[in-house]
Symmetry: C2
Subunit: 211 residues, 2 copies
Amino acid sequence: MSDPVDDSGWATPPLRFDSDKPVEPDLLARILGAATLAPSPYNLQPWRFVVVRDAANPRRLQACAWNQPMVGQAPVVVIVLGYLAPDQTHLDAMLDRRLELGACTPGRAAEIRGRAVAAVGRAPDRALWATRSAMLAAASLMRAAGATGVSSALLDEFDADALSETFGVPDDHAICCLIALGWTHQSEPFPGRFGLDEVCYAEHFGQPWTG
Amino acid sequence: MSDPVDDSGWATPPLRFDSDKPVEPDLLARILGAATLAPSPYNLQPWRFVVVRDAANPRRLQACAWNQPMVGQAPVVVIVLGYLAPDQTHLDAMLDRRLELGACTPGRAAEIRGRAVAAVGRAPDRALWATRSAMLAAASLMRAAGATGVSSALLDEFDADALSETFGVPDDHAICCLIALGWTHQSEPFPGRFGLDEVCYAEHFGQPWTG
């Protein structure tokens, strides 16, 4: 337990990516595959990933992200999207797969269908609903990258309208974050974290956490 | 690489918690500590956790969560909040800690302060902004639980107004999800996931991913 950052599986952000060293396609596919293993309500998997690595695109992407240098340097940038309507388009495909795997009975599939339609239907804010799951996938992606030695930086400053326009993101997808991926030799030093006494409450908001 | 779920560090949800077996306080503190190690913009750490485990509270919580049985069974439920205004209240404390750790110079701290205030100030939706980081922390919490053998279930169906009223959550905090924690003997079978060809695009939304 000497290094809390290493123990947690999170790495601190890189100081600078090596622009000339690509992330191998097989490795990238493994990292993206790990992202898809995050849990989501009714297994609706409302995450989508636009993977940007063509030489022409980093500059276009950087222009949509207030010119943050990291975006232009990284050999791969993943635009993480939350899809707002998987209950309308992907419920059958998801349940078919579950049945094929023998992971539920037809009766249970029918029950899941009914509950999923009702539950997602009453979500008050679809962008928030989809963003929650997409960020679990983003966490999974970053940790899988770290586990394979690939550095990642999460960037949440971007011009959503410009990104949508440039990369064709439709209105029923929320842009959640950009994740820059690549190789690096040096990372930021760990900046510390607030203690549990500052971020945890016992039983009721505002009531001190005493362990 | 035989079991993609185990490889990813995610566990499938438990079928039923053992209500009578508590999560030891030291173990719970380790799991919460791991949650706080997630990254966040400018290290502002906009996550807060209300930890519910008093015998009287699970039923009150369940009533705010459409009576989902899991909420009443679990010995611990964490209400994960996103805090909307850490740039206004916690920027100094965060930078002081960073300086104490020797993780930046006073000049760099001043630069971070300026950029953080500008960046968070132009976030178009503070609830979305805070929710993104809080869900990275939620992911970290769930995976730390799994690594110590504790089962977790993420519940995103709740009546936010009822939760706020019952647990005193103020308006400047978004309720992101509930995480039920406890011991269990049996988990759901893995329900499958969509392949990368279904959730990834190459360079532009809608353009097929070919690896």
